[in-house]
């Protein structure tokens, strides 16, 4: 349950959400995806009020969480094709993403159930990248990935943000994830404690879009004073 969360994320911005287990990071991401009901306060994602309608944003949101949302009995390419057709994305976007994530060739026709955990994460990431959603919600995205997978993930996040997507990353690995982030948000007990730029990094440098430069839409989850529940 979240309470007293006040957070705005702009298009083109990468926000790192930190906090210990049970801090509310995953709940925040699920609320932003419309998977948790917002019962009090205000929550607007990509122009949609989540209290009134939490379904209509889902086609514009991509989530990479602890679960991969894949079907074990389908092959990599079949899982990707299903996800893209469901999202009404041209299936032609599959090939370059598979190639980039090392899933092309024999692996593409392999049953997902026989893949390693890291490979499954790569497949889930390929679905996300091929869909190119306006809002990326990443829950411990580096978990289970090897070094090359982590590097590709970081590149994809940077490219998505540069293209105007808003990215929210929940991570227990601040050293890794803060390199990606424009802003760091600390959570505990379902509340946002503070927000600051990540240590040692300016908000807009090294090819990252300056905040506000690419704003097309806003993701905001803002709420009532601490103590009042508004996401359950």
């Amino acid at each position: 349950m979240l309470s007293g969360v006040d957070l705005e994320v702009s298009s083109g911005e990468v926000v790192l959400v930190e906090g210990s287990n049970g801090a509310g990071k995953t709940s925040l991401l699920r609320a932003c995806a419309g998977l948790l009901a917002v019962v009090d306060g205000e929550a607007e994602v990509l122009g949609h009020n989540l209290r009134n309608d939490r379904r209509s944003i889902r086609g514009s949101v991509g989530m990479l969480g602890h679960a991969t949302f894949l079907y074990d009995d389908l092959s990599v390419i079949e899982n990707l094709t299903f996800a893209l057709r469901a999202a009404r994305v041209p299936v032609g976007a599959v090939a370059p993403v598979l190639d980039r994530l090392g899933l092309a060739g024999r692996l593409a026709s392999t049953r997902v159930g026989s893949l390693s955990s890291g490979q499954r994460r790569r497949v889930a990431l390929s679905v996300l990248a091929a869909r190119a959603p306006a809002l990326w919600l990443l829950d411990e995205p580096h978990a289970g990935l090897d070094q090359s997978g982590r590097d590709v993930l970081d590149q994809m996040v940077a490219e998505a943000a540069a293209a105007g997507a808003a990215v929210v990353v929940a991570s227990h690995e601040p050293a890794r994830a803060s390199v990606l982030a424009h802003r760091r948000v600390s959570m505990a007990g379902g509340r946002v404690l503070d927000q600051a730029p990540p240590g040692g990094r300016a908000l807009a440098d090294g090819g990252w879009p300056a905040l506000g430069h690419l704003v097309r839409e806003r993701v905001s989850v803002s709420g009532s004073p601490p103590g009042r529940s508004h996401v359950a």
């Binding site: 419309g34 379904r55 969480g65 949302f69 389908l74």
Partner: protein, 222 residues
């Protein structure tokens, strides 16, 4: 909605084709039910012939529970249901797709079971038109009601045991009407089965409509 339904049905049927759960477990289970009833009723062909319709639809009913449970077990693994919710698919399309995939499997099963009744019970399949129409209407009702109640039970820890308890009483009219209509068809008096067929059609329309209207909410709450 229709596009989404075809997409979901295609996915579910492809998963079944790969996993072969229906072929390796559901079909043998249904045939075994017919065989065991044949043992229980004894070798009297006349008794078996009279009981054919009821036994066939009892076997279909048990198999339908397994099929809808399997349909929703697919979505429980690796939180695929969340993926389905995030996919942007129309909930009504998801309902039609899942119910359609279950119905397709049940129709194939009914064909096999009809053949088995000829072999095991010496059944004579007269009134083919009524038998086919009855099977289509009963299957639509079973698949639609099963999908609605499976979605209702999907989020519960006791879903495997709760679903039969919820579903069996609800689909009892289907068992009754399909049995009566098939008995009329097998007896060569199809006109006696027409009112039962009408009842099956009404049941199917009610549950398809209910599913189209409520599935979105059920998917959210499960």
């Amino acid at each position: 909605m229709w596009r989404d339904a075809l997409l979901v049905a295609g996915k579910d049927l492809r998963v079944e084709a790969r996993s072969r759960v229906a072929v390796n477990q559901v079909v043998p289970f249904a045939v075994l039910v017919l065989v065991l009833f044949a043992f229980a009723l004894g070798p009297d062909r006349r008794v078996l012939s009279q009981a054919t319709a009821g036994l066939l639809w009892v076997a279909v009913l048990f198999s339908a529970v397994l099929a809808v449970q399997r349909s929703f077990a697919l979505e429980a693994a690796d939180s695929a249901r969340d993926g389905l919710r995030l996919s942007g698919l129309d909930p009504a399309g998801i309902f039609l797709g899942k119910a359609g995939a279950v119905a397709a499997q049940l129709l194939v099963l009914e064909l096999i079971l009809a053949g088995a009744t000829v072999v095991l019970y010496d059944a004579r399949l007269h009134g083919a038109l009524l038998l086919v129409a009855t099977s289509l209407a009963a299957t639509a009702g079973l698949a639609a009601a099963g999908t609605v109640y499976a979605a209702l039970a999907a989020g519960l820890r006791v879903r495997e045991t709760l679903l039969p308890l919820l579903l069996m009483p609800v689909v009892a009219p289907v068992l009754l009407a399909a049995t009566k209509a098939w008995q009329a068809g097998l007896a060569g008096v199809p006109s006696d089965g027409e009112r039962w067929l009408e009842m099956l059609c009404v049941f199917a329309v009610i549950y398809v409509t209910l599913g189209l209207v409520t599935f979105g909410a059920l998917l959210e709450e499960s």
